[in-house]
Assembly symmetry: C2
Homo-oligomer: 750 residues x 2
């Protein structure tokens, strides 16, 4: 039956195009059977049809400009860069359109443009811009050349059979083979890495190899270069080591072994995971089509599917990725890379109906078999909600290098979400943010992670590249909602040291009644300093919204200054402590990001708790924190020493303990009330928690209690040294006995 | 036929309630016929039904708490204030629900609560909070007591016939009559004004008069107190004069004569127009129902209808009011006041189908005849789009006190809108912002008007009242996008002087091909200084989006410092001039709002134009401005001397001409390009206008030209002294002759 269909498809192709190609191409992302299926289902699949129409509109618009293949010259954002980028995007689509519609003008356009590249490429020196550790030829870095090859190999595949043999000879001899060689043997420091850059190189080389049936290139992509002579200390432009310490081997399988943790977490964070997923998924699809014997989607216990589910869980309620590490805010699962990943995983990995609900929001599909599957699923109404639950994603190839904890409560449209980071460094794009967190409410940031200091592809801003302030501010510890010791950053801001270290998960429990809680420790960030942070989300009908509890303890043998910033979003409403604002603003410090913070206010209090109440997004928030009279309560604003206005001038609140050995920060963050600007009615605008107490804090135990206006009282007990579920704990305090089993217990009015 | 219906209605009422009331009440907002119509149409009118169900849910929830009539004590935001406010809102709705459903529990609830008020009121002293110029008894100011009466008179009307005569006697004798007296004869400085406060007083007194058929109260409301003995210099809390200079008479008709201009513009601006419209419209509806002989909706050439259309035109593309004068951002035509006004004007003033499209967005209707009309119209699909066009709204009772000019282009979802203010002062809530402007694009602020420094009804912020920074910052000239002379404000910040003055419209022309333009002058704000500002929106297929032109000239006999700030929203991308940022931030000045501005950067240029390019809301913007090397180009940030974080810390750009007699500012503001954070593609991120020239500027003429990258060139010629449409102008410059007819001409490539 399948054979009959293939026969029919081929027959139809012949009718459509009138050309004499065989069934051997396309074979990469499209297949001859896939094209036939798409053609016969086009009318029945509105989303597929719409995606095709959008592609045709895009390509026709670009084709109307004629072919431009300029001599490479510019950086990202500049003319030649953007033109070559547009060229590969257009040709990839044109190839698909040719296959589906049979309209030869698209094939001819691809051929003619590729011929111009073939004419230019052999004499092309490396790109004149020299700042990359691996200069490309078409673009300033091999990475972008590899992007080109991933897309162009698809375009070439689509017209392969349509071309005359001597045309293919020219393209392969003058363009594709030397192009693939330049990216691999010509730049081993680019190709033989375990890194998002090399996923592109590997996919490009492998995909063109599959199109040309060039076994040498295919093997190079799957297994890496046998020799690379890369110095073990060599670094890339971001300061990351080229070779991962202990790296043995390279190529696609090694990437899949090392890039993702067993939970599918990618160590650079979601933003780069998205970027790496596109070539990984496309190459996997190509392999599944050309080399089904490899069973690539089964590899490493379905790691490809896991990596997609991991990244989908690292999104806020609007689908935007948590901006961990170098990540530009706004990027989401609506991106093209995620469209590919969702469609490919849906099609090849069991047709999970929850993925259809993501595809529905994406509102476009790949123009291939996988997109057809998704479009069919949607047109049949098979989708089910993608429920994002609280989840811990472990980091590291073996899952033993820390992780990310995500706690969620409430319905998606009114979700409160807490993200805590206790991963490894995350390579060159990692931030020095051990035990940091961020908090979301109703899909908006309440306590923000700054993200990257970069405007990707906006030429005015340093060619769209990383801004200097990314190193001096965004990566630094003080730019995050976590502890800073003595105004320095974790590992003194040294990535190389950081890359050898990771925090340790202590416990993660989201099954308790009314409480979800996560806890992690770090002993690596500051020599001689141990940090332990526990964060919980507590739901109780006594509170309007869930409460966030933050317990951050630090131990050291010598006295230090401890700073804990909270980058809250919104307008300060009031505080329960007095503060003064300076007549002139000065930077809070002179290094490790402190030079970028204006000190905008300063206070302290003799009360045992300080409260900061603010307003954002029609809701009120209150941070209630335990303080001593010596603690400094600082208001800050980002933007000092910002000579080109590269930073967002957002504010922060910082609790400073000037001289302590062991210290404890305990805070409750409440989301409460509502303000309606149309009816001008404020409800529940003051905090519900009126009282916060530390019962005990020692090496073994931390017990806190808090109470509300109505006289309710809660006690949270934590075991600091034993996270085993079955251990019994007993402690007597002021004549009262507290007993519990496992690492924590929440009690109410006991 | 009508009589038959009324008979039936009464008959039905009798059946429904089993009570013996006559047809004389309700008569105010509801009528017996109206109730009958609503009942019979409820099932056919989904929106009416929904509004009723929402009202029932609200009232039931509040009734479940029982009746609370606490002794008055608190300010706005505090318990007793919010409780009494909630009481009148609930009773008004309960009255309507009783009438429509006939469920007597609502009537009983109203009676019982009113009885508690009747018990408390006679012995009640003025409210303990003494800060108002007209203290209330239930609330801290008469204004809120008047709100109470407007709502409660409706509730009383609904149960009037249901009550026993002796119950009515108690309520009228102990509560309503003394309440109305206290607001009128008891507080003439509140009642006999021409002001939004007194519209509430008048409506409350008039409406309860109509319910009780008390001719004395009705006459008082319509014609004011005959004697008030108010000192002509007496002021209210906002610094506004109690009596308008030259005011003769008071009461409702005088309000309608003086509050609105012939175009329907209310001198305090849209935010307060909304506030005043509710009592005005409700009282008008009540009069139309009880005293149709007055033909109130025909009064002053349909001024009530005009005032609604004026305010609807003073909204951005999301329906939010332009925040002119003291106005909290976020208030929109979705507010309850506008629901009333739209429904009432629709019903009584010709059933304009464009109003239905506003009502559709409001998604609720009044539960009376007017709401029924709207609901019927909507269920029949009669709505037509409400097209907001460019419009000039003149200010002043006679329309001769300046005005507001609004220029719009494009479809609502992608509209560019320019608002220029050349009104009179706008009484106590007026800002010192002569010839200021604001600019919107895609429904978002691009160049913002700060609005008010206040968080209305948010208790933490100064009891929800005006913040001190409203006077020291928000009202000051430098807080606006207009010229500041010698670091002082218009009229040296004196409202009383300001209230005697206004700017002058020069011309407003929105019928030209490719150009809409407005021009106004002011000679009052600074003694000895004449200002003339012309703003245009130019559309040409050579630009991606419309251009904004801003020509601001100033003439003086002595040297002054001239500052022109632009409060642009978004992130600075780049400039074509060099600037430095200070190591420490100091305030830009020490008075008139300058004390609240940090100076965050400073530059200048030897080029004849300075360009500032910024990014906001996925779009790029560029301000290109003519400068001389002596001009200082300043970056500022709001927030200095902000000891309670009461201000938004937004940024500005300021062009300073340190010492000039006559000076000219010429700028082009472009909206261009797009940035898509999901695809990370920036298009057209640089300005299109590369060249800006002044050809001549003298008393008679100003001619500028500007050109784009493609070599196109435009010339804009303006006659500065003769705005007549028919005058011919000729001027020779550098051997070229420019001729045109009327006050302006735009030419392209001539």
């Amino acid at each position: 039956m399948i054979r009959v269909k293939i026969f029919l498809a081929v027959f139809l192709c012949l009718i459509f195009t009138g050309s004499g190609y065989s069934q051997s191409h396309p074979r990469l992302v499209l297949t001859t059977k896939g094209v036939s299926d798409i053609r016969s289902n086009l009318k029945k699949s509105p989303l597929l049809n719409q995606s095709l129409r959008e592609a045709i509109a895009d390509v026709d618009k670009d084709m109307a400009n004629g072919i431009e293949v300029p001599i490479p010259k510019d950086m990202a954002g500049g003319y030649t860069h953007e033109r070559h980028k547009k060229n590969y995007l257009t040709l990839q689509k044109a190839g698909v359109i040719f296959q589906i519609t049979g309209d030869q003008k698209y094939a001819a356009f691809i051929r003619d443009m590729l011929m111009q590249y073939a004419k230019m490429y052999p004499a092309l020196p490396p790109h004149p811009e020299t700042r990359s550790y691996a200069r490309g030829k078409i673009f300033w870095q091999c990475l972008n050349d590899a992007n080109w090859l991933v897309y162009m190999s698809q375009a070439y595949d689509c017209i392969y059979d349509w071309l005359k043999p001597d045309e293919r000879n020219v393209l392969e001899h003058d363009l594709f083979k030397p192009f693939a060689d330049y990216l691999s043997v010509g730049n081993p420091q680019f190709f033989n890495r375990i890194h998002n850059h090399s996923t592109w190189g590997i996919a490009g080389v492998g995909m063109i190899g599959l199109v040309m049936n060039d076994q040498e290139l295919i093997d190079r992509a799957l297994y890496g270069l046998k020799e690379d002579n890369i110095d073990k200390d060599k670094k890339d432009n971001d300061g990351g080591l080229i070779k991962m310490p202990g790296q043995t081997g390279a190529g696609f399988f090694i990437q899949l072994d090392y890039l993702f943790s067993p939970d599918g977490y990618y160590t650079e964070g979601a933003y780069y995971q998205r970027y790496a997923l596109y070539p990984v998924m496309l190459f996997a699809e190509s392999l599944e089509n050309c080399r089904p014997d490899l069973k690539i989607f089964d590899y490493r216990n379905h790691i490809l599917s896991k990596s997609l589910f991991a990244i989908l869980n690292m999104t806020d309620s609007e689908g935007q990725f948590f901006p961990i590490n170098d990540a530009q805010k706004g990027m989401s699962y609506l991106s093209g890379e995620l469209v590919s990943a969702v469609d490919i995983v849906y099609h090849f990995c069991g047709k999970d109906p929850a993925l259809l609900s993501i595809a529905k929001k994406q509102n476009r599909v790949l123009l291939d078999n996988t997109g057809l599957s998704v479009a069919k699923g949607l047109s049949r109404g098979l989708e089910k909600p993608f429920i994002k639950k609280s989840i811990e994603l472990k980091d590291g190839p073996k899952g033993d290098q820390g992780g990310v904890g995500i706690i969620r409560t409430g319905m998606p449209e009114d979700e409160l979400c807490l993200v805590m980071k206790y991963t490894s460094q995350g390579m060159g794009h990692g931030h020095f943010d051990k035990l940091s967190f961020s908090m979301y409410d109703k899909g908006k940031e309440v306590i923000q992670d700054y993200g990257v200091a970069r405007y990707v592809n906006i030429n005015q801003k340093y060619g769209g590249g990383y801004l200097p302030e990314n190193n001096t501010w965004a990566k630094q510890t003080v730019a995050h909602n976590t502890l800073v010791v003595n105004e320095t950053s974790d590992y003194k801001g040294d990535s190389e040291t950081g890359n050898k270290c990771h925090s340790d998960p202590y416990f993660f429990n989201v099954t308790g009644k009314g409480i979800q809680i996560m806890s992690a420790k770090d002993t690596t960030a500051y020599p001689g300093v141990s940090m332990h942070r526990t964060m919980a989300v507590i739901e109780d009908k006594a509170f309007e919204k869930p409460l966030v509890i933050d317990i951050c303890s630090v131990q050291s043998e010598k006295e230090n200054q401890y700073d804990l910033p909270y980058y809250f979003m919104g307008q300060v409403m009031n505080t329960n402590f007095k503060y003064t604002v300076p007549d002139m603003l000065s930077p809070l410090g002179n290094a490790y990001g402190y030079q970028h913070l204006w000190k905008t206010g300063e206070g302290n209090t003799a009360d045992k708790t300080a409260q900061l109440n603010w307003f954002s997004n029609e809701r009120f928030y209150t941070l209630t924190t335990l303080v001593s009279p010596d603690d400094q309560l600082l208001f800050t604003q980002i933007g000092a020493e910002d000579s080109a206005f590269n930073l967002r001038h957002d504010q922060g609140f910082m609790i400073r303990k000037p001289r302590e050995k062991d210290a404890l920060f305990v805070s409750v963050i409440e989301s409460h009330g509502h303000y309606d600007p149309v009816n001008e009615i404020a409800t529940n605008s003051y905090a519900g928690i009126t009282d916060l107490n530390l019962l005990i804090n020692n090496k073994k135990y931390t017990l806190i209690s808090f109470g509300d206006k109505a006289g309710n009282r809660w006690t949270l007990s934590i075991s600091n040294e034993d996270a085993l579920a079955g251990t019994n704990h007993t402690i007597e305090l002021n004549g009262k006995t507290y007993t519990w089993t496992g690492p924590f217990k929440l009690t109410n009015n006991e």
